[in-house]
């Protein structure tokens, strides 16, 4: 399902039947029909086309922000885990510190000052979401560091970077992947929440969050405006979550506890 969606999103310009931003004042709030399979919105724009383009934005927000978070998390986590000692202590205190802030508050504060464009939103969601991954990677490193193959490479004089890059990181990637799978839906939800407050991706760009937000004003006369994007978010988030849980269960049981913490919203 997740893959399916990504494909649809990439192909949006090809398969979308209409220009997603072109208003048609003669067809305001038209109910779903064969011409507009999911109806039209308050400005007469085709909801299906908007949703397809919106999928690109929403998924991009999910992937990029989680990518940023994971990158930071892997770097800090491996740095902390490999070095140990005061470096580890400092980084872990940093993690504790960031975890103390309600993420949504932090997001709001930052977005009030940066103009909410799609890039700032990705960056900000990413920059406030790296703590879980850092913890995971560090834990993996602490465990792997003592394993014989690492100890052996150290004894033959391999460089620290090489050890981390070639030997430890690949082994630590599995839990990171799980965390990423679970982070993407959370980012999509966060963006929709920001859209509700008017701080999400700005129109005319469509994200599922702001299509849903615009749809809420006509919720009683145009059910298709809020039901479809609402369901799209729901099903995507659900599928990513169940998928993430699935691979986690299939992996080393030791991961469970730490990855479990990722399932929080904001």
């Amino acid at each position: 399902m997740g893959v399916c969606l990504a494909v649809l999103a990439v192909l949006a310009p090809v398969i979308a039947p209409w220009d997603p931003n072109r208003p048609d004042i003669k067809k305001i709030l038209a109910a779903p029909s064969s011409i507009h399979p999911l109806g039209t919105d308050q400005l007469g724009r085709d909801v299906l086309s908007r949703m397809l383009y919106g999928a690109r934005v929403s998924l991009a927000v999910g992937f990029v922000s989680v990518g940023i978070a994971s990158l930071i998390g892997v770097m800090l986590g491996s740095f902390a885990g490999y070095n140990g000692g005061p470096v580890d202590g400092f980084i872990m205190r940093l993690v504790d510190l960031m975890l103390v802030f309600p993420r949504f508050f932090l997001l709001l504060a930052v977005l009030a000052f940066l103009r909410p464009s799609i890039w700032t939103i990705m960056a900000v969601i990413g920059l406030t979401g790296w703590m879980g991954v850092t913890r995971l990677v560090r834990a993996e490193f602490l465990a792997l560091k003592e394993r014989e193959f690492v100890v052996w490479s150290q004894s033959v004089g391999a460089s620290g970077f090489r050890i981390v890059w070639r030997h430890i990181l690949p082994n630590a990637m599995a839990p990171v992947l799980v965390a990423m799978t679970l982070g993407i839906p959370a980012a999509i939800l966060t963006e929709s929440g920001l859209s509700f407050l008017g701080l999400g991706v700005q129109p005319p760009h469509a994200s599922w969050g702001n299509i849903l937000n615009e749809g809420k004003d006509a919720i009683e006369i145009g059910w298709w405006l809020s039901v479809y994007p609402g369901l799209a978010i729901l099903l995507t988030v659900l599928s990513y979550n169940l998928f993430g849980e699935g691979i986690r269960d299939a992996l080393d049981p030791r991961l469970r506890q730490s990855a479990g913490r990722i399932v929080t919203r904001r």
Binding site: L99, V100, L106, N241, R266
Partner: protein
């Protein structure tokens, strides 16, 4: 044990400093000046003096480190400054009148979540892969995956407009003052029903999944297996031995989940018109009210820190391993 608590307390101090630092940084590194009004229409009258006045009043022209130092020294005296919004009220006062509502809501939500999540988690763990397990898994994730403002609107339309059973927004009815105590309580509960429903449905997944995992792990432990081998009934094994151990980490999770719940209350409070911290934060953000934003960040995160601390110390009391470890450390 005392040492353990003390050590935790000491560890919290750098975090506290960190909180002030991050709060300050977040606001001041971003471009944009306060008082920059955003409207769709140009105004015929405008007053440029206002901007200057603001800068003078709040040292905005001084270097950042000077501003920070001034701000922190005032924080120590619990002086959060005055709001930039024209009411110019002390920030602390503004926050104080908003905090109880948000705290109350969050505690109630937390209690409901725990009372629901523990049985769901335990039952789905002991019956792993059963129909119950699968149904609850999907159920809690649907709760997690539903955008909360959407769910809130749907519920408001259903219960508020169509059925007319529950009030749509606010904390109390207008005739609240004239009601008897029990009526007041009933009225209050009615107003809170929908917001709490939305928040708990969204927060259920985290806890119940955690409980399920925790239980699954405990069940596989040796002492549970041996209790089973001793021929104790499944009820006793699960209820007495496994559950107690599986419940332990919940205390820590409670502390950690607080910021997420408080963050979630931003949207719930906005849509249900509940005068809490979340609403205050949103308004401050739109008005670029630095002191209120900073005050909010500092106070909420400090509260979370305190909650974590309490959770940690409680955990120390209940978990024998830490008790023993602490004693060993003393020796």
């Amino acid at each position: 044990m005392l040492l353990y608590a003390l050590r935790r307390l000491l560890l919290a101090i750098p975090l506290l400093i960190g909180i002030t630092f991050v709060s300050f940084l977040v606001i001041h590194l971003a471009p944009g000046t306060p008082g920059e009004v955003q409207t769709g229409d140009l105004s015929i009258q405008s007053d440029k003096d206002m901007q200057k006045l603001l800068v003078e009043l709040y040292d905005l022209d001084k270097p950042l480190h000077v501003q920070y130092w001034k701000w922190v020294t005032r924080l120590v005296r619990l002086d959060f400054g005055r709001s930039f919004s024209p009411d110019a009220r002390p920030v602390l006062q503004k926050i104080r009148e908003r905090l109880p509502v948000t705290l109350f809501l969050n505690i109630v939500e937390l209690l409901i979540i725990v009372t629901l999540a523990v049985p769901i988690g335990v039952l789905s763990a002991t019956r792993q892969y059963s129909v119950f397990d699968k149904v609850t898994t999907v159920f809690v994730f649907v709760g997690f995956a539903t955008p909360d403002f959407w769910l809130a609107l749907l519920l408001m339309i259903l219960f508020g407009v169509q059925l007319g059973w529950l009030p749509i927004s606010g904390l109390r009815s207008l005739n609240w003052e004239y009601l008897s105590f029990w009526r007041q309580l009933w009225d209050f509960a009615g107003h809170l029903a929908l917001p709490i429903l939305v928040a708990t449905f969204g927060g259920l997944a985290g806890f119940s999944r955690y409980m399920r995992q925790s239980m699954l792990e405990v069940v596989r432990q040796d002492y549970v297996q041996s209790a089973r081998a001793k021929g104790l009934s499944e009820r006793v094994v699960i209820g007495k031995h496994a559950l107690r151990n599986a419940m332990l980490p919940i205390v820590t999770i409670l502390g950690l989940s607080l910021p997420h719940l408080v963050g979630g209350s931003v949207i719930v409070e906005s849509i249900f018109a509940i005068p809490g911290m979340g609403q205050l934060m949103v308004q401050a953000v739109f008005e670029r009210d630095y002191p209120v934003i900073m005050g909010n960040l500092v106070i909420v995160s400090t509260l979370t820190l305190v909650a974590n601390l309490v959770a940690d110390i409680t955990y120390g009391f209940v978990d024998p391993r830490i008790r023993v470890g602490a004693r060993r450390g003393r020796r």
